[in-house]
């Protein structure tokens, strides 16, 4: 009795650390501490579960658990520490998938112990479906962000097909729960069906929307964990799971908001499918203008004689690992008495806040990172805007072309600046797969090349001036 009480008390504390931790993660000053507090709570809950367990357990089971935890800790730690900052978004997706798979496996094992108990089986099969979707979906999202899977793949009538599959899965799950069957075959059919659905669910969604998808799958895993909590009457799983489920859902909507898209639009999206075609059609009609190329030395001269420069970093900067180079350029320009700022679009890069994380890594002064709303009025007083590897977030089509898939998305209004220098590797369209009329603007000059080497040559040019 005393033991059970102690465990419940530990769970209560752990639940509090999750709430407190998430709350603190919402403020820059307390965020890091918040994360550590939640981690401490989690450690307590895990150790408590093992040491206060009531019942006869053969010792080899303890060895099994310890081995799994030790291997998982070493592996998780190494992956999390080794992977480059630019790969962060896909890493979150990967770990999210692990949690989903864990939840699904729990369901697979526990199924046979609850035969005949309709509500428990319903909880189990729901956990299997959600966990499996979260796992396979996260793996696809991971592959997409990784660049392994490039293009959105669409089966014919994929929306109808996908909806049909999920309806069949739910009906089948209901049947399993209702009929009281103990068939392992049915269970595994359900498991693999849900895995397949997760793949089909994420495959058609474009890479630009992956952050939203990851956030959504994140809340799915939370839900799956909570279902496990319901099954065992385990409070800490319940609170942690539901907390992430609900917070994750709100976060998903916040991300959609930042891109001015609805969640329905993202999932069943027109992005790419209908939008792509009409946008590129429209583009080829209106964008017959010519682009103007520039050289590193011309760009350096232009910058050298400017008073205000705004840098717009995008994913291209991250891919080229050019964050240190851009910081050096910024300091060099500042030392020449030029006012330099970074304009950060909320969804620049692959995830909201991705650019801030990257630039913070290089010790860029926090005050120099300007948010979109604050910086937009400043463009008209800016001599040079230097766009590095960003595309969709500066595409004026969001304001001017109602047929564009990104129409209505808030953008950085760089077209108001006096000069625009755009660094890109090639003329390929951005992640949304649409043309950008900004490139054909009279004030725009294109500086082609890998972001890092271009910036480094800019630096050496500027140093000689």
């Amino acid at each position: 009795m005393k033991y059970i009480f102690s465990l419940q008390f530990i769970y209560l504390i752990a639940s509090m650390t999750y709430i407190l931790g998430l709350k603190m993660l919402g403020k820059p000053e307390t965020a890091r501490k918040g994360n550590l507090i939640a981690a401490a709570g989690m450690t307590m809950a895990i150790l408590g579960t093992i040491f206060f367990y009531q019942g006869e357990v053969p010792s080899f089971i303890y060895i099994l658990i310890a081995t799994a935890i030790v291997i998982g800790t070493i592996l998780g730690w190494m992956i999390a520490k080794k992977v480059a900052m630019t790969k962060m978004p896909e890493l979150v997706s990967l770990f999210n998938g692990m949690g989903g798979a864990s939840a699904a496996l729990i369901g697979l094992i526990e199924f046979e112990h609850y035969t005949g108990k309709t509500m428990s089986i319903a909880t189990i099969v729901a956990g299997i479906i959600i966990g499996s979707i979260s796992f396979s979906g996260s793996m696809i999202a991971w592959a997409k962000l990784n660049g392994t899977l490039k293009k959105p793949l669409r089966l014919p009538k994929y929306n109808i097909l996908n909806n049909l599959i999920i309806i069949v899965l739910i009906l089948f799950a209901t049947f399993i729960a209702w009929s009281g069957t103990d068939s392992q075959l049915f269970l595994y059919v359900l498991f693999f069906g849900a895995l397949a659905y997760g793949v089909l669910f994420v495959l058609p969604i474009g890479g630009a929307d992956m952050p939203v998808v990851i956030s959504l799958l994140n809340s799915f895993t939370g839900l799956a964990a909570a279902l496990g909590g319901f099954l065992y009457g385990n409070m800490v799983m319940l609170t942690g799971g539901i907390l992430v489920g609900s917070a994750g859902t709100i976060l998903t909507f916040a991300m959609c908001d930042a891109m001015n898209r609805s969640l329905v639009n993202v999932i069943f999206g027109s992005f790419g499918s209908s939008g792509d075609v009409s946008a590129s059609d429209g583009a080829s009609e209106t964008m017959k203008g010519s682009i103007k190329k520039t050289t590193v030395s011309d760009a350096a001269i232009l910058m050298n004689y400017s008073q205000r420069i705004i840098i717009v970093p995008g994913y291209g900067l991250a891919v080229a690992q050019a964050q240190h180079a851009i910081h050096e350029l910024e300091q060099l320009l500042a030392s020449k008495g030029i006012e330099v700022k970074y304009a950060i679009h909320p969804v620049a890069g692959r995830m909201p806040g991705h650019m801030n994380v990257l630039l913070a890594e290089t010790n860029v002064d926090y005050d120099k990172l300007a948010e979109m709303e604050d910086v937009n009025p400043e463009f008209k007083n800016t001599d040079v805007v230097f766009v590095v590897g960003a595309n969709d977030v500066v595409n004026p089509a969001a304001h001017t072309n109602p047929s564009s898939p990104i129409f209505g998305m808030p953008i950085l209004e760089v077209e108001n600046a006096k000069n625009i220098i755009i660094n890109k590797r090639s003329m390929n369209p951005g992640y949304a797969g649409i043309e950008n009329e900004l490139f054909y603007n009279q004030k725009t000059s294109m500086l082609f090349g890998d972001a890092k080497s271009v910036i480094q040559s800019l630096i050496s040019e500027l140093k000689g001036m």
Partner: protein
């Protein structure tokens, strides 16, 4: 139907917690600057690693003869640990960078 009503009255405390936690989750996320969306998502990602507790409970309760169950349970604990450890470490790494201003 009776089973459903029975289920609800048996579990009314847990249903309370679910409902209240939904509100807590919604409240916590309101007004978070976009800058912190990624770390926040990553932190939440680590917290749902709490599913590992379920995986541990499975292994603790599994029949010593059930080898498939043990194997799956082992994998479940391993994956859950990856979720927890990887999730918290990645979040910390992201936030470490925010801190270093001056």
């Amino acid at each position: 139907m009776t089973q459903l009503i029975e289920f609800i009255s048996d579990n009314i405390q847990m249903i309370y917690i679910v409902v209240l936690m939904i509100f807590v989750g919604v409240e916590i996320i309101g007004h978070v600057p976009a800058v912190l969306h990624t770390p926040l998502m990553s932190g939440a990602n680590a917290i749902h690693g709490v599913v590992i507790i379920g995986a541990i409970l499975v292994l603790l309760g599994v029949n010593p003869e059930n080898y498939l169950g043990q194997a799956l349970g082992f994998v479940a604990v391993l994956l859950g640990t990856l979720n927890v450890v990887g999730g918290f470490v990645v979040t910390d790494r992201m936030l470490e960078m925010f801190k270093k201003k001056k």
